[in-house]
Protein backbone atom coordinates (compact mmCIF):
# COMPACT_ATOMS: atom_id res chain seq x y z
CA UNK A 1 0.00 0.00 0.00
CA UNK A 2 1.04 3.55 -0.56
CA UNK A 3 0.41 6.45 1.78
CA UNK A 4 0.25 9.88 0.15
CA UNK A 5 1.13 12.32 2.92
CA UNK A 6 0.62 16.07 2.62
CA UNK A 7 2.41 18.30 5.14
CA UNK A 8 1.47 21.98 5.28
CA UNK A 9 2.48 24.93 7.45
CA UNK A 10 -0.08 25.60 10.19
CA UNK A 11 -2.38 28.54 9.43
CA UNK A 12 -0.79 30.59 12.23
CA UNK A 13 2.72 30.06 10.85
CA UNK A 14 3.97 32.71 8.45
CA UNK A 15 4.75 31.08 5.09
CA UNK A 16 7.16 33.33 3.18
CA UNK A 17 7.44 30.79 0.37
CA UNK A 18 3.68 30.85 -0.13
CA UNK A 19 3.64 34.65 -0.10
CA UNK A 20 6.41 34.81 -2.69
CA UNK A 21 4.74 32.25 -4.96
CA UNK A 22 1.49 34.19 -4.67
CA UNK A 23 3.30 37.36 -5.76
CA UNK A 24 4.82 35.44 -8.68
CA UNK A 25 1.40 34.23 -9.77
CA UNK A 26 0.04 37.79 -9.55
CA UNK A 27 2.93 38.96 -11.74
CA UNK A 28 1.95 36.33 -14.30
CA UNK A 29 -1.59 37.69 -14.33
CA UNK A 30 -3.29 35.19 -11.98
CA UNK A 31 -4.86 37.97 -9.98
CA UNK A 32 -7.67 35.75 -8.69
CA UNK A 33 -5.21 34.01 -6.35
CA UNK A 34 -5.97 35.11 -2.79
CA UNK A 35 -3.59 32.80 -0.90
CA UNK A 36 -0.84 30.24 -1.48
CA UNK A 37 0.62 27.87 1.10
CA UNK A 38 3.67 25.76 0.23
CA UNK A 39 4.01 22.35 1.88
CA UNK A 40 5.45 18.92 1.18
CA UNK A 41 4.23 15.76 -0.52
CA UNK A 42 5.65 12.50 0.84
CA UNK A 43 4.92 9.06 -0.61
CA UNK A 44 5.44 6.11 1.72
CA UNK A 45 5.19 2.54 0.44
CA UNK A 46 4.21 0.11 3.20
CA UNK A 47 4.18 -3.65 3.48
CA UNK A 48 1.09 -4.12 5.64
CA UNK A 49 -1.95 -6.39 5.47
CA UNK A 50 -4.79 -3.89 5.88
CA UNK A 51 -5.66 -0.29 5.21
CA UNK A 52 -6.57 0.04 8.88
CA UNK A 53 -3.06 -0.97 9.89
CA UNK A 54 -1.55 1.33 7.25
CA UNK A 55 -3.51 4.29 8.64
CA UNK A 56 -2.40 3.65 12.19
CA UNK A 57 1.23 3.29 11.20
CA UNK A 58 1.33 6.34 8.93
CA UNK A 59 -0.37 8.43 11.61
CA UNK A 60 2.47 7.48 13.96
CA UNK A 61 5.11 8.24 11.29
CA UNK A 62 3.64 11.70 10.83
CA UNK A 63 3.57 12.37 14.55
CA UNK A 64 7.10 11.12 15.16
CA UNK A 65 8.95 12.39 12.11
CA UNK A 66 7.21 13.40 8.90
CA UNK A 67 5.58 16.52 10.36
CA UNK A 68 6.68 18.88 13.13
CA UNK A 69 3.57 19.52 15.20
CA UNK A 70 4.88 22.94 16.28
CA UNK A 71 4.68 24.37 12.78
CA UNK A 72 2.98 21.84 10.51
CA UNK A 73 -0.31 20.03 9.93
CA UNK A 74 -0.57 16.77 8.00
CA UNK A 75 -3.13 14.60 6.30
CA UNK A 76 -2.84 11.54 4.10
CA UNK A 77 -4.72 8.98 2.11
CA UNK A 78 -3.92 5.34 1.44
CA UNK A 79 -4.02 3.76 -2.01
CA UNK A 80 -3.14 0.28 -3.17
CA UNK A 81 0.08 -0.21 -5.18
CA UNK A 82 -0.51 0.38 -8.87
CA UNK A 83 -3.30 2.92 -8.23
CA UNK A 84 -1.11 5.99 -7.84
Amino acid sequence: MIARVIVTPKPMVNDPQGITVKQGLATLGFREVSDVRVGKYIEVTLDVSSEHEARARVEEMCRQLLANHVIEDFHFDIVRDGHR
Binding site: M12, V13, P16, L65, L66, N68
Partner: protein, 234 residues
Protein backbone atom coordinates in the same frame (compact mmCIF):
# COMPACT_ATOMS: atom_id res chain seq x y z
CA UNK B 1 36.06 21.97 31.81
CA UNK B 2 35.88 19.31 29.12
CA UNK B 3 33.99 20.24 25.98
CA UNK B 4 32.52 17.73 23.55
CA UNK B 5 31.74 18.91 20.02
CA UNK B 6 29.23 16.77 18.16
CA UNK B 7 29.92 15.87 14.53
CA UNK B 8 27.10 14.71 12.27
CA UNK B 9 27.54 14.03 8.57
CA UNK B 10 27.10 17.55 7.20
CA UNK B 11 28.23 19.47 10.29
CA UNK B 12 30.52 22.32 9.28
CA UNK B 13 31.30 24.42 12.37
CA UNK B 14 32.78 21.63 14.49
CA UNK B 15 36.42 22.56 13.81
CA UNK B 16 35.72 26.27 14.39
CA UNK B 17 34.22 25.45 17.81
CA UNK B 18 37.08 23.06 18.53
CA UNK B 19 39.66 25.71 17.63
CA UNK B 20 38.18 28.21 20.08
CA UNK B 21 38.02 25.60 22.84
CA UNK B 22 41.52 24.19 22.64
CA UNK B 23 43.62 26.77 20.75
CA UNK B 24 42.10 30.02 22.02
CA UNK B 25 40.96 29.01 25.50
CA UNK B 26 43.22 26.04 26.18
CA UNK B 27 40.34 23.88 27.41
CA UNK B 28 40.00 20.15 27.06
CA UNK B 29 38.30 19.10 23.82
CA UNK B 30 36.92 15.94 22.31
CA UNK B 31 34.82 15.37 19.23
CA UNK B 32 31.70 13.23 19.53
CA UNK B 33 30.75 11.29 16.41
CA UNK B 34 27.01 11.02 15.77
CA UNK B 35 27.20 7.26 16.28
CA UNK B 36 28.92 7.53 19.66
CA UNK B 37 26.97 6.09 22.53
CA UNK B 38 28.86 7.77 25.34
CA UNK B 39 29.82 11.37 25.90
CA UNK B 40 33.41 10.63 27.02
CA UNK B 41 33.05 12.46 30.31
CA UNK B 42 32.30 15.87 28.81
CA UNK B 43 31.05 18.69 31.04
CA UNK B 44 29.55 20.65 28.14
CA UNK B 45 28.30 19.29 24.83
CA UNK B 46 28.18 21.62 21.83
CA UNK B 47 26.00 20.82 18.83
CA UNK B 48 27.57 23.05 16.19
CA UNK B 49 26.34 24.59 12.98
CA UNK B 50 26.03 22.97 9.60
CA UNK B 51 23.53 20.80 7.80
CA UNK B 52 23.28 17.59 9.81
CA UNK B 53 22.12 14.75 7.56
CA UNK B 54 21.75 17.35 4.82
CA UNK B 55 18.87 18.95 6.75
CA UNK B 56 16.68 16.51 4.81
CA UNK B 57 12.93 16.71 5.53
CA UNK B 58 13.39 19.62 7.97
CA UNK B 59 16.43 21.21 9.61
CA UNK B 60 17.51 18.99 12.48
CA UNK B 61 14.71 16.48 11.90
CA UNK B 62 16.90 13.45 11.23
CA UNK B 63 19.85 14.40 13.45
CA UNK B 64 17.70 13.98 16.50
CA UNK B 65 17.57 10.21 15.94
CA UNK B 66 21.35 9.82 15.97
CA UNK B 67 22.65 7.53 18.76
CA UNK B 68 24.59 10.42 20.33
CA UNK B 69 21.36 12.41 20.73
CA UNK B 70 19.91 9.84 23.12
CA UNK B 71 22.94 10.34 25.35
CA UNK B 72 22.66 14.10 25.06
CA UNK B 73 19.00 13.96 26.12
CA UNK B 74 19.89 11.97 29.24
CA UNK B 75 22.86 14.24 29.92
CA UNK B 76 20.58 17.31 29.75
CA UNK B 77 18.09 15.59 32.08
CA UNK B 78 20.90 15.16 34.60
CA UNK B 79 21.73 18.88 34.39
CA UNK B 80 24.62 18.66 31.91
CA UNK B 81 25.38 21.74 29.82
CA UNK B 82 24.15 21.45 26.24
CA UNK B 83 24.78 24.26 23.76
CA UNK B 84 23.22 24.25 20.31
CA UNK B 85 24.57 26.77 17.82
CA UNK B 86 22.73 27.44 14.54
CA UNK B 87 21.93 23.96 13.21
CA UNK B 88 22.44 22.76 16.77
CA UNK B 89 19.59 25.02 17.91
CA UNK B 90 17.40 23.52 15.20
CA UNK B 91 18.34 20.02 16.34
CA UNK B 92 17.53 20.83 20.00
CA UNK B 93 14.08 22.13 19.00
CA UNK B 94 13.37 19.05 16.89
CA UNK B 95 14.54 16.84 19.76
CA UNK B 96 12.14 18.60 22.13
CA UNK B 97 14.96 19.80 24.41
CA UNK B 98 13.90 23.37 23.60
CA UNK B 99 10.43 24.63 22.67
CA UNK B 100 9.45 26.09 19.30
CA UNK B 101 10.93 25.69 15.84
CA UNK B 102 13.15 27.50 13.35
CA UNK B 103 11.48 28.16 10.02
CA UNK B 104 12.53 29.73 6.74
CA UNK B 105 13.84 33.29 7.02
CA UNK B 106 11.05 35.78 6.30
CA UNK B 107 13.17 37.24 3.48
CA UNK B 108 13.60 33.74 1.95
CA UNK B 109 17.27 34.65 1.74
CA UNK B 110 20.21 32.90 3.33
CA UNK B 111 21.58 35.58 5.67
CA UNK B 112 25.31 35.78 6.35
CA UNK B 113 25.98 39.00 8.26
CA UNK B 114 26.95 40.56 11.58
CA UNK B 115 24.20 41.05 14.12
CA UNK B 116 23.96 42.79 17.48
CA UNK B 117 22.57 40.72 20.32
CA UNK B 118 21.12 41.97 23.56
CA UNK B 119 22.12 39.62 26.40
CA UNK B 120 19.11 39.43 28.72
CA UNK B 121 20.44 36.87 31.20
CA UNK B 122 23.88 36.92 32.79
CA UNK B 123 23.12 34.43 35.56
CA UNK B 124 23.62 31.45 33.25
CA UNK B 125 26.70 29.28 32.79
CA UNK B 126 26.70 30.40 29.13
CA UNK B 127 26.59 34.16 29.75
CA UNK B 128 28.17 34.80 33.17
CA UNK B 129 31.07 36.72 31.61
CA UNK B 130 28.72 39.19 29.89
CA UNK B 131 27.70 42.46 31.47
CA UNK B 132 24.09 43.19 32.38
CA UNK B 133 22.19 44.12 29.20
CA UNK B 134 25.39 43.63 27.23
CA UNK B 135 25.21 44.14 23.47
CA UNK B 136 27.49 41.67 21.71
CA UNK B 137 28.34 41.56 18.01
CA UNK B 138 28.08 38.06 16.58
CA UNK B 139 27.59 36.89 12.97
CA UNK B 140 24.72 34.78 11.70
CA UNK B 141 24.81 32.40 8.76
CA UNK B 142 21.53 30.63 8.09
CA UNK B 143 18.52 30.26 5.83
CA UNK B 144 16.20 28.93 8.51
CA UNK B 145 16.64 30.90 11.71
CA UNK B 146 13.20 32.42 11.98
CA UNK B 147 12.13 31.46 15.50
CA UNK B 148 8.50 30.43 15.86
CA UNK B 149 6.47 29.25 18.85
CA UNK B 150 2.74 29.35 19.47
CA UNK B 151 1.49 32.32 21.53
CA UNK B 152 1.17 30.31 24.77
CA UNK B 153 4.72 28.98 24.51
CA UNK B 154 6.05 32.40 23.60
CA UNK B 155 4.47 34.11 26.57
CA UNK B 156 5.70 31.34 28.87
CA UNK B 157 9.26 31.88 27.55
CA UNK B 158 8.98 35.61 28.17
CA UNK B 159 7.45 35.26 31.63
CA UNK B 160 10.12 32.84 32.77
CA UNK B 161 12.96 34.89 31.31
CA UNK B 162 14.02 32.14 28.94
CA UNK B 163 14.88 34.51 26.09
CA UNK B 164 18.62 34.94 26.53
CA UNK B 165 19.60 36.67 23.29
CA UNK B 166 17.60 39.09 21.16
CA UNK B 167 18.52 40.78 17.88
CA UNK B 168 18.95 44.51 18.54
CA UNK B 169 20.60 47.58 17.07
CA UNK B 170 24.04 48.79 18.11
CA UNK B 171 22.48 50.64 21.04
CA UNK B 172 20.67 47.62 22.36
CA UNK B 173 17.25 48.63 21.12
CA UNK B 174 15.15 45.64 20.09
CA UNK B 175 13.68 46.92 16.83
CA UNK B 176 12.33 45.13 13.78
CA UNK B 177 15.01 46.70 11.56
CA UNK B 178 17.59 44.72 13.56
CA UNK B 179 15.76 41.43 13.04
CA UNK B 180 17.56 39.56 10.25
CA UNK B 181 15.19 36.64 9.79
CA UNK B 182 11.69 37.41 11.06
CA UNK B 183 12.06 35.68 14.43
CA UNK B 184 9.14 36.32 16.78
CA UNK B 185 10.08 38.85 19.48
CA UNK B 186 13.51 39.20 17.79
CA UNK B 187 14.54 35.95 19.47
CA UNK B 188 18.10 34.86 18.71
CA UNK B 189 18.62 32.43 21.58
CA UNK B 190 16.64 30.70 24.32
CA UNK B 191 17.39 28.58 27.38
CA UNK B 192 15.37 25.73 28.82
CA UNK B 193 13.53 26.23 32.12
CA UNK B 194 16.27 24.51 34.11
CA UNK B 195 18.97 26.77 32.65
CA UNK B 196 21.33 24.14 31.25
CA UNK B 197 20.31 23.87 27.57
CA UNK B 198 20.98 26.90 25.36
CA UNK B 199 20.04 27.23 21.69
CA UNK B 200 21.13 30.18 19.57
CA UNK B 201 21.28 30.93 15.85
CA UNK B 202 24.32 33.29 15.80
CA UNK B 203 27.85 31.87 15.67
CA UNK B 204 30.02 32.86 18.67
CA UNK B 205 32.81 30.55 17.44
CA UNK B 206 33.25 32.81 14.42
CA UNK B 207 34.05 35.89 16.46
CA UNK B 208 36.47 34.67 19.10
CA UNK B 209 39.68 36.18 17.74
CA UNK B 210 40.61 39.68 16.59
CA UNK B 211 41.64 38.36 13.17
CA UNK B 212 38.01 37.40 12.57
CA UNK B 213 36.70 40.91 13.17
CA UNK B 214 35.50 40.55 16.74
CA UNK B 215 35.93 38.68 19.99
CA UNK B 216 32.50 38.96 21.59
CA UNK B 217 31.82 35.29 20.98
CA UNK B 218 34.64 34.47 23.34
CA UNK B 219 32.57 35.85 26.23
CA UNK B 220 30.16 32.95 25.88
CA UNK B 221 32.86 30.29 25.56
CA UNK B 222 34.74 31.80 28.50
CA UNK B 223 31.53 31.83 30.54
CA UNK B 224 31.16 28.10 30.09
CA UNK B 225 34.86 27.44 30.66
CA UNK B 226 34.93 29.42 33.88
CA UNK B 227 31.48 28.42 34.92
CA UNK B 228 31.03 27.76 38.59
CA UNK B 229 28.05 25.64 37.62
CA UNK B 230 29.95 22.42 37.31
CA UNK B 231 27.92 19.67 35.78
CA UNK B 232 25.43 18.16 38.16
CA UNK B 233 25.71 14.67 36.79
CA UNK B 234 24.24 12.37 39.38
Amino acid sequence: MKFGVVVFPGTWSDRDCGWVIDQVLGQELTYLWHKDTDLKGCDCVIIPGGFAYGDYLRTGALARFAPVMEQIGEFADRGGLVWGICNGFQVLCEAGLLPGALIRNASLEYRCQWTNLLVERTDLPFTSQCEERDVIRVPISHGEGNYFADPATLSRLEQRGQVVLRYCDANGRVVSAANPNGSLHNIAGIINARGNVLGMMPHPERCAERELGGTDGLKLFRSVAESAFKVLVS
